[in-house]
Assembly symmetry: D2
Homo-oligomer: 360 residues x 4
């Protein structure tokens, strides 16, 4: 496949932490190539490679390093834009891009709970993509939201168990990595030799987003899942990888062994598509008595898998387990790219198809 047949994409807010991760993950992408990057005004016009404080552990892709930084406003003629904008500005900007005919796949929280916006985890609720039809944008335009990073790790195993046994109540305590707060984000003075048992807005997101994602598509709306979620969120001195200690009440009252079997066998939704960023197995059930651990398991399947361990019975709610996912890959940029892939593969973006999969 010659390079120029790939779909041109833009990254909004490309110099921040999640923006950088988008650039890195898209570098080797078989379907997409980055042709436009935007940032705040003070970077405008400078080459991306100079404007960014690059903090990834691989070098900036040369092609992107040379791109001039654009202002974050409608203009770039690309069919897909990934938004890594801060929520203080993301809302109206993303709407403007969609109104101009672009499919916006966003990591910001602003549109997540909009009734006509799919809050998408492809393995969990790809059917929700149908909501795009309810959006009042011109052909090709639309908004797809990537959920909060701690929500994504949770809903993947929850969906497996919800389909098999019915999830009623979920108690979750998170131990979240500092990269979730961006750069500069958490001050080192706040977190070294310390834990902070609070993350603004996070507990609410876990409770409300989970119900929407696991909800049913009913016509052109989502009927929320009747699941009670109680979250306590903490920040720990870990670079990447959110660990969640979960207790569950399941209608079917399965044993721990039955839960493990269902999780290990989970295959997500419609996997006729070989999506480039999809993990081979979305849930890895680990046997090690002290697994999963952020440093050892966050990079499984390129950071796109979710690990589950310590599955056992709980005297209060029935089942407890530890869940781990990579918050800036699976939980942010990687997850959003997978959302774009499924939208392309399912033909949800007007005029855009899988490169090289010609109509011939």
């Amino acid at each position: 496949m010659p390079e120029d047949s790939r779909i041109p994409v833009g990254v909004l807010g490309a110099t921040g932490s999640v923006g950088q991760r988008f650039i890195r993950l898209l570098d080797r992408h078989p379907w997409f190539r980055v042709t436009a990057v935007t940032a705040s005004e003070r970077s405008e016009g400078r080459p991306y490679g100079e404007a960014v404080s690059w903090a990834q552990d691989e070098a900036i892709p040369p092609g992107v390093a040379a791109l001039p930084v654009l202002p974050t406003a409608v203009g770039p003629d690309v069919p897909i834009v990934f938004s890594a904008l801060d929520s203080s500005v993301a809302g109206p900007v993303e709407t403007a891009f969609a109104a101009a005919g672009a499919m916006v796949v966003t990591n910001a929280r602003n549109h997540r709970m909009d009734p006509d916006v799919p809050l998408l985890v492809p393995e969990v609720n790809s059917a929700h993509l149908a909501l795009l039809e309810a959006q009042a944008f011109p052909p090709g335009g639309g908004i797809i939201a990537n959920p909060n990073c701690s929500t994504i790790g949770l809903v993947v195993p929850l969906q497996a168990l919800h389909m098999a046994f019915g999830v009623r109540r979920v108690n979750v305590v998170t131990l979240q990595a500092i990269s979730g707060a961006g750069i500069p984000g958490v001050s080192s003075m706040a977190i070294l030799d310390n834990v902070v048992p609070f993350i603004s807005g996070e507990e609410d997101k876990l409770e409300t987003e989970t119900r929407k994602i696991l909800g049913k598509l009913a016509g052109r709306a989502i009927e929320e899942a009747p699941i009670e979620v109680s979250a306590q969120c903490t920040r720990v001195p870990v670079l990447d990888g959110h660990l969640e200690m979960v207790s569950l009440e399941l209608a079917g009252r399965p044993s721990a062994a039955e839960v493990a079997e269902v999780l290990a066998g989970f295959r997500g939704g419609r996997w006729e598509f070989e999506l480039p960023s999809a993990p081979k197995r979305v849930i890895h059930v680990l046997d090690g008595p002290d697994h999963p651990q952020p440093r050892l398991h966050r990079d499984l399947e390129g950071g796109m898998a979710v690990s589950v361990g310590r599955i056992r019975e709980c005297p209060i709610l029935g089942i407890k387990m530890a869940v781990l996912s990579h918050n800036t890959v699976r939980g942010a940029a990687g997850g959003a790219i997978l959302c774009a892939e499924i939208a392309v593969a399912e033909g949800r973006i007007d005029g855009v198809g899988i490169p090289g999969a010609g109509s011939g």
Copy 2:
């Protein structure tokens, strides 16, 4: 009070992490003075100051540094010994000391669940000291056990709420400091940029010890409290201070404000005694939205207080909150010293009284 009127005490296993903490906390003690230290055979006969790899942030008290290290066997003629022995050896050694007429206050787990051994948190269950009468040791001999470090932080607020509202079910996720594992304990390769969601035996201790501590003295036995506890324990890269994220079902269904009021007003048991190591307020209710934090709050009241914050309602069990305590002070050496103090103050040790409080 002339120095030599203080009660001579011994420290068993004095060179380890908890042993060092005993030495440091006893240095300025108004009632006790350390006259004997024991360690493993290879240290025998050397001055303590040479035998120990001292890792406290103050210098070794000179009087103790000069003491010759004794073998860990009956011999020192002291009425009270503090045991910081490893559980692999603690059981029979402690029994032997008690049989020889010493009151053993131990931090090891071996005798904790013995039916006739008080598992003591003075502010919570000082009445359990009456169990000493059931022990078959000669006058002056006995065993008092200090609970597990993560249990102590939990049972203090639980007791306050149990008395006020009745505790039925407790879900707890702990974020425990590395000092809880001793020295060398946790390898730095295991915990830097990481969390380990498992601590051997810890979850079981939280579940069983809690029921004994909150139980009722019935004759010469403890009737366990009918409380369901479910624990998930993790190790985090923090030096000192165990944080516990707790959800509670209380029979009385109080509001968060009522819970906060009860905790703030808790005064423990019989505080006619001005015990030297007792905190002025055993529970500090903190208002900061992101409090308590290990580094900021572990040293409150010299490390002997328990901090509680983020008290709020929980859609599943009713109430949730964050609890913090210093694991090697309140949860180990400091707690054990307080146990000895109350035993002395209540006249539970044959022939031993408060120094300077003479009958004259």
Copy 3:
């Protein structure tokens, strides 16, 4: 001594990291009491206890918590102000306070290299206080500068060796704590599992300040010491305590043992005064083969001592050693308070004497 005989002092920039440390260290001060605190405009008028994000490990002193935050401008009628201002604003503000008749003891870098400003480390160059006479301020007014935190730890042992053997060349690699950068300061994403081998402006300060501090008072000016300094500064994931790996060329070519003896015997300058914040021994020579260490030794003598260890011969420059000092106590607030103490004790502040040391 009744409380109100103490000298009223102000703290400029009281809500920042160093400002907080001033408040904490001054809380129990026998000579000074804080009666005025200033901060940026958005805090103006609020009680200090509400305006500050307090991050010290002890509670805010109640008396200070209730003080209203003032704007950082001339006004408070106090004879001494401690400046914890950021260097972006400190220069003219400090001059204005001095011009209004206050003695300004500053931790900011702005006036450090002014020819008529003493760059003061009381144990090292108290004679430089005579420069105050060269300052063109009204009676009682003046500026005394506290050196950079990494410089202070270095010049204390350097002065001991300079007096004994003559220092010619100094090569120093620093491993500096994150608290040196203030709050928020260093992002946790930048320093966790990492070292940053650069601190803006720091190497230059070490090289130039050292020559001034060790210089000779010649009339109303300082003649810089002819010492060559080469510095390489790094930031490490440590909360407090700057470690410096030093190599030295000494004119006298002493042995390592002779160096150790001189350092251990160093008594500083004119110690007829019992200054409240002065360490009993300003240099602690440690024998442990792996000492000094930031966590174990930064708090020696309340953080006011400097520790030196691993003194040995160097095949290149002659002597090498490791030096440690507490950067926010000895190297910032504590050092500045000691500067004020010696200025008071030596009668350098017009109309201000040691409280309770009356003329009677």
Copy 4:
């Protein structure tokens, strides 16, 4: 190339930290395949996958996981063995393997300073391989030593500068990662919020190994380079990557720009061979003002490159700079594999050639 044409190799001490790294790096190796693994007696006979506490961030290669663990004694019929043995046992075991006809490439220190053992960094001193001829082992047998991890990072840029300008004196302060001490290695209680300014034996290794590696082959012996080295070694809380702050006296007195140019242009020795593990550029000269940093740059070129930054003039020795290398890849397992590759490529191992490069 069919898999079985690869050269079978063994790993001695395969369950430890460096042993695991060998297994991981050899997994995808085009020339070598692991057919034998040894460990201590208590693992004997168990499958490697069960005997090891695997702590790498990728899964154990399935082929190796199934291998039975052998005792560490002569027996496996492989032409090359990699030794990750502890120095307490490595010496005689390695000699025995060489005497039995195997080429031993070792990471242990025991034989490093033996006069007839090449202390090899392929880009620096491949000519030293000729020493193998001086070894009294049967055909195919021999010992090649990999230098100490902190030495390797240093000698690569030193050799570039030695060839261009002549190195006379080197002052180096290291900031070394915890993985250098193996597993469990450094206790987390020793290093969290701390730096330890001492590593046993390390400074001596840097001083003596450097002179041997940069020495000249003279007949069948090495004439040490007349370079004075002074080292101060510290351990910092970083997982991987040794940072070294270096000052240099060069005979040629070059400018910083000239030094940078020579380093950037360095190509090592005889690069007619395309060795599988060789970095494309062995030295990366970085421009960032705060580069290199362990977390950002340790993985350059798969961890096999050395990064140099902050090259500038030094008022004392002439040039200073910061050097970084990955201590368990470049500095241990990866470096040793590269040593084996060059030995194979240069035909130094009797009867062993590059797989698939047949004579036909």
